[in-house]
Symmetry: C2
Subunit: 150 residues, 2 copies
DNA sequence: TAAATATTGTTTACAAGGAAACAATCTCTC
DNA sequence: GAGAGATTGTTTCCTTGTAAACAATATTTA
């Protein structure tokens, strides 16, 4: 508490060690660091990949639902989708049943792009948590599923 | 794969279900949502709280080390600290041993503020993961510690 | 059916956070 | 000890993401 920390591991976190939200934030920052170190040079960021992937798995999904599932706010989703549309990866379609909504599908180019990206993306993802045993990693996955409510 | 998702739970994530980085991002977004819903009106955000808390636990800690531990980049740390200094919570001191560095301590006001904030902050943190059993929550904490390398 | 309310996506204006270039200081090597 | 290189913090500019107001369409209520 009163000895000055000389190295990063000496830093005392005290009660933050038991703070779940805090640890999740740190974990996520570590993931990002890892991501940009390994595959930062690619043309898809994590958010963009997940959007394309989910559209691929759910063709015709509406923007609002995509946002709900990926926890992306509407204002931001609009920009993301427009950028992907401008790159020719996604196409937007307004359904007759609800002319406010937008239904999303991949273009042929988008499908090719995501299939190609999936190779390196999931390879990278498999490397996340490489400092844990397979059993621990699996346990962490399961607990996160439960935490998220998925 | 080809049935259009009607509700958010119907959205198929497929391989993303096993992607640790992706799940951590989702978990963290859920934490933030929870935070702003519950204690968003307070005058300290999660990042600010953690900075003040760690300074409290490690008086005289240097900016660089604080940033390393909390994974906050130097450019951003500068702004954070200046804002906290402007609010009279933190004081900066340049040590004689290394005149490039900045050593951080709390002001009396800062100490009072963080002690007061700690009440609601940790109460809030205890509510994170309330949908899990105590054992699961503990397990998640331990696994995150290991994942982060703490 | 007409008016009130809710939902969906967009726009605009801003806050949070990062990358790169910089200045100051320290350390290492010769 | 003089110069090369590393470290620390700051500044500037840019990207990512959000909040709030808005427009268009649906739904509910009277």
């Amino acid at each position: 508490m009163d000895t000055l920390a000389r190295t990063a591991d000496d830093v005392e976190l005290d009660r933050l060690n038991g703070a779940l939200g805090f640890l999740l934030r740190l974990a996520q920052l570590k993931v990002y660091e890892h991501f940009f170190a390994e595959v930062g040079g690619r043309d898809l960021r994590p958010g963009e990949f997940s959007v394309l992937w989910v559209i691929r798995c759910n063709p015709g999904i509406r923007q609002s639902m995509l946002g709900q599932r990926l926890m992306i706010k509407r204002a931001h989703m609009t920009k993301l989708i427009r950028a992907l549309e401008d790159r020719g990866l996604v196409s937007r379609c307004i359904p007759d049943e609800d002319r406010r909504a937008v239904e999303l599908t991949l273009t042929a180019v988008g499908r090719t792009a995501i299939d190609e990206a999936a190779e390196w993306f999931f390879t990278y993802e498999d490397g996340v948590g490489a400092n844990m045993s397979a059993a621990e990693r699996k346990q962490l996955l399961d607990l996160l599923h439960k935490f998220i409510g998925l």
